[in-house]
Symmetry: D2
Subunit: 343 residues, 4 copies
């Protein structure tokens, strides 16, 4: 449940709430913002207990939260969570675009990509170091070497980067290198990994499993948050259905449905949803039109030579089309933005 | 297969193609436009026969078409089919919006709706006369009486209207009254009804069954076209999946996938996809951002008193929001926006 | 709702119930069996009205039935509906097997099939006369000619037969010829056809649409029963899912789920579920192990020359294996059974 | 690919094959049985290389195996893999039944269960020690304490036990205690866990994710086998579909489809598929009728007091019914039944 204090609640009032929580052996997470004091008590909702809290001095309201959906609940942070990654604002007014290849293959490939993205106003690079492939005989990524490449590219271009931690075994390495740690769709219910991510100081991009309900998705985010990490970015990447004209079915309705239920930013990955580069741009436009907070897109200097997912990566010309069609890159310099606003 | 003639092909050349088709007992449909002479031979593709046609004088190319996907094939009308319904252009540059209640309940309800829509710039009304309800004990629509109401509203307001023919039994009545005849999702593979629609002089709005593949959907449209009716408008309304935050899952990727394969206009019904009015507007925006040719939306003067589908109908204030939001899609350039505003 | 009378209720008591139903303009269907007087009032359940009926003299109980699920409700006929088709008992102790080709192609093909089936103890033949094909350019069946072939084979062999009515247009012809009229999966929500079937004197085999919920399936059966036809046989034939090792996914759990909710017999079509003859026999065994009332199986003298669905039809050797594995054909004469038991 | 040697191949011939594999830096796994020398070279199939192996002396045949499906391939062990767990034979002629509660709650609960199962002839106990719950606030299992309880019950009753390793973190503990280590459906693509399981000396029961294709499922098993563990038992537990009369949809066709493609034993979990105890027994019967190698069933002394999944656990009376019903499957011939009963 979520305890909202009155605007004039005194520190003593807040201390009383904390004391009561302690007496009940409940953990308590402070979600106050500049306007409202807000204390979240994760766990099962208990109407009897809720009443007791409601009767404490200085308490304005106690919001019941569905089981397992507390820290992620919209009411914990009604204004929406904002996550700043080297100046890129997730959950702000403008969408963020992340782009790059499925897998890091070489320094040249990544440097070439970083330069191209910069020119398009994109300042977060994606690239797999550890790849969770379906078959044990597929290319599994360059691992630590890829992390070094990404770090070098960041040092030389200023681009932030995101890469996936495929398990607790490689989490430390990924965490110490990357600006954002990705948890892949197939690991969305790898509880051990979710808990480790919850103890990280890095923002986590959590992809929805292609067969997860909205509840299961939010529960996975709750696992991360319950360990203390508040910086979770959700990402929809298509569901598995009977449809055969796309690799997965982008679930656009998830965007407004999530916005109603959680304060976390929501990205969309149109590339994995489509599995076919001809569908990527329309899906990207649809995602932003449905109010997604940004995109994560596969792009490669030469998609047909890509080590994986060749069919869905955009080349840089296509990526330029995409950027033009979605129009206002949030990553534009203040000067560029100023130039756009009519005097 | 599709026989494309040279630009300088003579009438005698065309006659030769027709003669050959006749000899082979193949029907032949003329899809020529102002630029290109184009003759479609529906049915199975036969590479041997294709070669014979290709060798005739004046033939430029013979396009192989997948089985059962000939008259609907993009190559039959590369520029895209345009259908004009009382001045509303389906398949043109601007999207068309159709709105109205699930079911016609009374003259007052429809008149009130028509007036509200007119003020928002909508000029096609929807309203069910015959309702294909899941249960035999649900309200089945006012039937012929509803058609009379719709005709009266059209006469008084100039609004065109679309209504569903739920079977061959009521087709004549619907056809003689409505401007567009709808075939509902649950009847998408009712072959008898598709054939009857193919012999109609009215445009047909064909809804995709919620479990139909793109092939099955196009085959259903092909059934209609094979009987002679070229004016088919396709409509995506969500697929059935495991998802529980929306009644159906809007398959946005179907829009570009269809555009690549067929010349027919594509509408989207965000209301049935959502099953929840809070999701309708984001889905409508997403559909247009993915380049749909228009929307068909449920709207009701007082949704909570609606005879059916109460949860998904917009009231007129919501509809106004929708219209405002889709008029200024976020991806439009400032120039485009400026050009759109009348001086 | 379902009004159950006391065992000693008098004719006057029953008349009172009828009179009350009449006053309320409710239709009333008599589902009494030798043991219990039972009157079903189809339509929405009304607790207030239920109480009024419950208070009438001679009334033992009033069972609330979910909306649209009255005549099909288990409580309307707790012992289960039994349908006798020329001595084949659907819903009895032993399963019924129906077999034959997808489509009737010739007299020879059907005669050959009928002879082979007879030798295996099967006495109901299936064969499509009117075929509801996905594409307009596929073979649509021999139509009336096929009905004449089936009648001739019946006259010569004594085999009953089932064939599909693909619409109201061919219903009369099918009904006058066939012993059982089939409604195909794709027409499960063709309300016009369901209503026509409800006015038929023939038993109806109603296939579940591959994306229908159990409620939708029972509502479709209710449409048939609401028009007066009590002889409805339900048939599960697989659902559409993401699975790619079979054409559809046989929903075995539907069998016990239906048995709990309805009194109608339940068949299974393992052939369309599998779409692959190698899976047909295991699915057939599973269906009967889950207590299905019988099977409808595709079999063809020479499957690879079959006009349609060639991949899933069994040849007669395979069919013999199937019959041996499921062991006790219900349609066998006592003599035949005796002959099978080793002395 | 799989290299099959001639029956009279000499040790020198085999050495040559091994040498060639070494030269190509390919790993090679010996799958020979008493009859045939069979060497599996995991990884991508290369027709050119296959020819080279085929030309070596003593080589009978080289079987191409689809990418990522080598060690699991039926041809690697055509007779089928047999796994013996304390005398319980997985993959043998008779099905194995595993039963027990969702979670270990106490010594008494487990002891009571073990005694009841023993009386029914069941000798493998299941019980969750570490529970991978959807929500972080749900009961997560007794952990190590549960392992101690299971060990004590094993010591006192002789029952083997299986329990789940929910991550690499608890794998060592589970492995050292349990007779079989389970990998749950949600971890089916947790590659780190699969690899750890591949280095275990314990048999692994690998559950199919509820949205995994047959290829993905076999690839997961291949991950385990590629690390050296050959004792993998597959387990189908239902797929996620639109169906709402059961929690998941048991995919019976997977059983014969897997049998055609892999030599690994296949169990079925009817309890998680059903999510409703009334459906468990029919699903269990269906699974065995489709030739599953056994069942894993939830059973609890008092299901309604169960710490989790209360709705689907059988009580011991129900379990007795299940055991009785599967002992005499209806499709068994009288002769077979007679043969089964010890004189």
């Amino acid at each position: 449940m979520i305890v909202q204090m009155n605007h004039n609640a005194s520190p003593a009032d807040v201390a009383m709430v904390r004391k009561k929580a302690e007496e009940m052996s409940m953990s308590l997470v402070d979600f106050s913002d500049e306007i409202t004091l807000r204390l979240v008590l994760p766990g099962k909702h208990d109407p009897y207990l809720a009443r007791e809290f409601a009767e404490l001095r200085g308490v304005n309201d106690v919001v019941a939260t569905a089981h397992g959906h507390c820290l992620t609940h919209r009411a914990a942070n009604p204004a929406g969570t904002i996550i700043d990654v080297r100046g890129n604002i997730f959950g702000g007014d403008l969408p963020v675009v992340i782009a790059g290849p499925c897998a890091v293959e070489s320094y040249d490939q990544m440097m070439q990509t970083a330069v191209a993205l910069s020119e398009l106003g994109i300042s977060i690079l994606r690239g797999g170091a550890f790849k969770p492939r379906t078959s044990p005989y597929d290319f599994q990524g360059l691992g630590e070497e890829a992390l070094r490449i990404l770090e070098r590219v960041r040092a030389e271009t200023g681009m932030a980067f995101i890469t996936e931690a495929t398990g607790v075994g490689c989490f430390d390495a990924v965490e110490s290198a990357a600006d954002i740690v990705q948890i892949g769709a197939r690991n969305m219910q790898n509880v051990e990994l979710l808990k480790r991510a919850g103890r990280s100081h890095r923002p986590i991009l959590l992809k929805r499993h292609f067969s997860a309900t909205i509840d299961e998705f939010l529960h996975a985010a709750e696992y991360v948050m319950a360990e203390g990490n508040r910086n979770v970015i959700l990402c929809e990447r298509g569901i598995r259905s009977f449809v055969d004209h796309a690799r997965f079915t982008l679930d656009v309705a998830l965007i407004p449905a999530l916005q109603a239920r959680t304060h976390l930013p929501i990205l969309v990955d149109p590339s994995h949803a489509a599995g076919d580069r001809r569908l990527v741009i329309p899906l990207a436009r649809a995602a932003l039109a449905a109010d997604a907070d940004g995109l994560i897109v596969e792009a490669h200097p030469c998609p047909n030579e890509s080590a994986c997912d060749a069919r869905q990566a955009l080349n840089f010309d296509d990526l330029e089309v995409l950027m033009r069609e979605i129009e206002y890159p949030p990553f534009m310099t203040t000067a560029a933005l100023a130039a756009e606003v009519p005097a």
